[in-house]
């Protein structure tokens, strides 16, 4: 007579629940996370920090090689998702609730908060920079690495009247051999982008380097794609842009290059200027930017060098913060002493121009971070630590009580 196993799941949901809450899954995920961490750490040498994070930790799958053997591994993001659900189901829901397990339960809650904080940072945190010379005031933060295409409708005085943006995510998805047509969205022309390169340099056709560049020549220049820099901030994208008027006017072609934007907070971007139907427009590869709900003015930048060396000993900024007509003066932003306000953190990051000496006119650059989960790792580690303390204390008490009981038990003959 056939017998049925007792633990056979009688429905699909139960099977899924058992799988997601199993120790085996946790073991597999933790082994894979160890491998991903190892590859990600070693990958920074060849790819640089940002590219390594993108490839190994923010991806769903990645390929790499061990020697000459190619391997495919899941990225850190899906593994952390799975680990999160595995811990919720396995260590919180499924686990038998008893006083003895209280410490471990608290520890797991701390670890879950750490994983949740990682996701909130990934999904919602923004980081950019704000650079200014003394006397400048702004609320505009610029991205380090994200570039977008901007079409600007200009006034007679060459000021921006309307702004049309082709988002950075869409721009960066264009392949070097792809030609992408973008409708004008109310503008009297459509645009076509081709030959996009995430790091490029326009070279005059008279330069020796131009001889090896197989690209279209426009206005005495060719766009030469370059190898991506390990430091993603140094990549300067470029592309060919064709403006196709919807009326009878002829198409206009040009090269756009991120280097026309600005390298220094005092510079002004130089868009490609063109006219359609008598209206002046500009086209520009510009850094993605956003604003904070208050303005910051740099009052003074203090820069000191080690004697006899070009290495900075100290640099700090005195700023004034303006919000709704009110101002907070004499605020200091120093290395390791950021300014925190309304969820934004301003770190003293760097200074410029390169090669500046004390006494030169210099600009100060702040890293501006907005991370709702900024303090979550600290809280998570405190909770995890507290949980482990509770667990170890209870284990110790249990051990002492047990030892005491065994000693006090009367010996039998």
């Amino acid at each position: 007579m056939a017998t049925q196993k007792k633990d056979t799941p009688d429905n699909f949901l139960l099977l899924v629940y058992r799988f997601l809450s199993s120790y085996k899954l946790a073991t597999v995920v933790l082994i894979l996370m160890t491998l991903v961490t190892l590859f990600g750490t070693l990958g920074q040498v060849n790819h640089g920090l940002h590219a390594a994070k993108e490839k190994y930790f923010y991806s769903f799958l990645f390929t790499d090689k061990i020697g000459s053997i190619p391997i495919v591994l899941p990225g850190g993001l899906p593994l952390m998702f799975i680990l999160f659900f595995n811990m919720v189901l396995g260590a919180i829901v499924k686990v038998r609730k008893r006083l003895k397990g209280l410490g471990l339960l608290i520890s797991h809650i701390g670890m879950l908060l750490l994983l949740a904080g990682g996701f909130v940072t990934y999904a919602f945190a923004t980081d950019g920079y704000m650079a200014m010379y003394p006397g400048m005031k702004t609320n505009r933060v610029e991205s380090y690495r994200k570039w977008q295409l901007e079409i600007i409708k200009l006034t007679e005085e060459n000021k921006a009247e309307k702004l049309f943006v082709y988002p950075s995510e869409a721009l960066q998805s264009i392949k070097s051999n792809e030609q992408r047509s973008i409708p004008g969205n109310g503008l009297p022309f459509d645009i076509v982008i081709n030959g996009y390169s995430s790091n490029a340099m326009p070279v005059p056709v008279s330069a020796p380097i131009a001889a090896g560049v197989q690209a279209k020549q426009i206005d005495g220049f060719k766009l030469a794609p370059q190898d991506k820099s390990k430091e993603a901030e140094q990549n300067l994208p470029g592309c060919y842009l064709e403006i196709q008027p919807t009326g009878d006017e002829k198409p206009i072609e040009t090269i756009l290059w991120a280097g026309s934007y600005k390298f220094d907070p005092g510079e002004k971007p130089m868009p490609f200027i063109f006219e359609v139907e008598g209206q002046k427009y500009g086209a520009l590869l510009a850094k993605k930017s956003w604003t904070v709900p208050f303005e910051v003015q740099l009052d003074e930048f203090i820069f000191e060098q080690h004697p006899g060396m070009s290495m900075a000993r100290n640099y700090e900024s005195r700023v004034t913060r303006f919000e709704e007509g009110k101002s907070d003066t004499s605020l200091e932003i120093k290395m390791n002493e950021p300014m925190r306000y309304e969820g934004y953190t301003f770190f003293q990051e760097s200074f410029g121009p390169a090669g500046s000496q004390p006494g030169d006119r210099m600009y100060s650059q702040f890293a501006v971070a907005n991370n709702p989960a900024d303090q979550w790792p600290l809280i998570a580690l405190c909770i995890t630590g507290a949980g482990l303390l509770v667990h170890f204390f209870m284990m110790l008490v249990g051990f002492v009580v047990k030892s005491f009981q065994s000693k006090s038990k009367p010996k039998t003959a």
Binding site: P78, F164, P265, R361
Partner: protein, 221 residues
């Protein structure tokens, strides 16, 4: 061990399936993205209207060897010493300063600047080596090259001996030549100082090369 592996095989396969499912549902298609109208608020920068692609691609200042314009509109002056026995030549779009020296002006030294990283350090070192008929070197070897100061920072110092083919339309090759150069590659721009000539002539002008490169500076008026 075998038992442990078989136990882990099932969750691994199911995990792979989950990942594949998640991957296919999460790939974003940006090809249909359109221009988005945004408000150019007060923080939006004003523009400089460049009168040519040369200026827009930052080659304008390179042609004017003596003057460039800074961010604040202040004039910037490139200053340098002219070594004794060297004769300055007219500047071009690519070359900010050019000198000739030696018998029949066989020796040449110039300063060139390119916007951006200028193609990168490795590519430029190997381009120069290629002009001298030398084999390319690896990034590790480039990183191990010595440095010398240029514009207040350390630049990579390159020395190559061989048969010099200048390119730029010239099909001639000059035997027993030496190339000595400095490459500075940064986000703000790249600078190159390159000296070429017969080996003995270049050797005899190393001090002059150092004098010129160490004197290079940009002063704001």
């Amino acid at each position: 061990m075998y038992s442990l592996m078989t136990k882990l095989l099932k969750p691994s396969c199911l995990l792979a399936g989950m990942l594949l499912l998640t991957l296919t549902s999460c790939i974003e298609d940006h090809s249909e993205a359109v221009l988005i109208e945004k408000d150019p608020n007060t923080a939006y920068p004003s523009f400089k209207i460049a009168d040519s692609s040369t200026e827009r691609f930052r080659y304008r200042s390179m042609a004017n060897s003596a003057e460039t314009s800074s961010s604040e509109g202040a004039a910037q002056q490139l200053v340098y010493d002219t070594p004794e026995g060297w004769t300055e030549q007219p500047a071009s779009m690519m070359r900010v300063v050019t000198f000739r020296f030696g018998e029949n002006d066989k020796g040449e030294c110039y300063l060139a600047r390119l916007p951006g990283a200028g193609g990168g350090l490795l590519a430029n070192v190997n381009r120069w080596r290629g002009q001298m008929g030398a084999e390319p070197i690896t990034e590790e070897e480039v990183n191990a090259l010595p440095t010398k100061p240029l514009f207040g920072t350390e630049a990579t110092y390159v020395t190559v001996d061989g048969s010099f083919s200048p390119g730029m339309g010239s099909t001639e090759t000059y035997e027993n030549y030496r190339l000595v150069g400095l490459i500075l590659s940064s986000e703000a721009g790249a600078a190159f100082v390159k000296m070429t000539g017969p080996k003995e002539l270049v050797e005899a002008n190393i001090e002059e090369f150092d004098q010129f490169t160490s004197s290079l500076d940009v002063q704001t008026n």
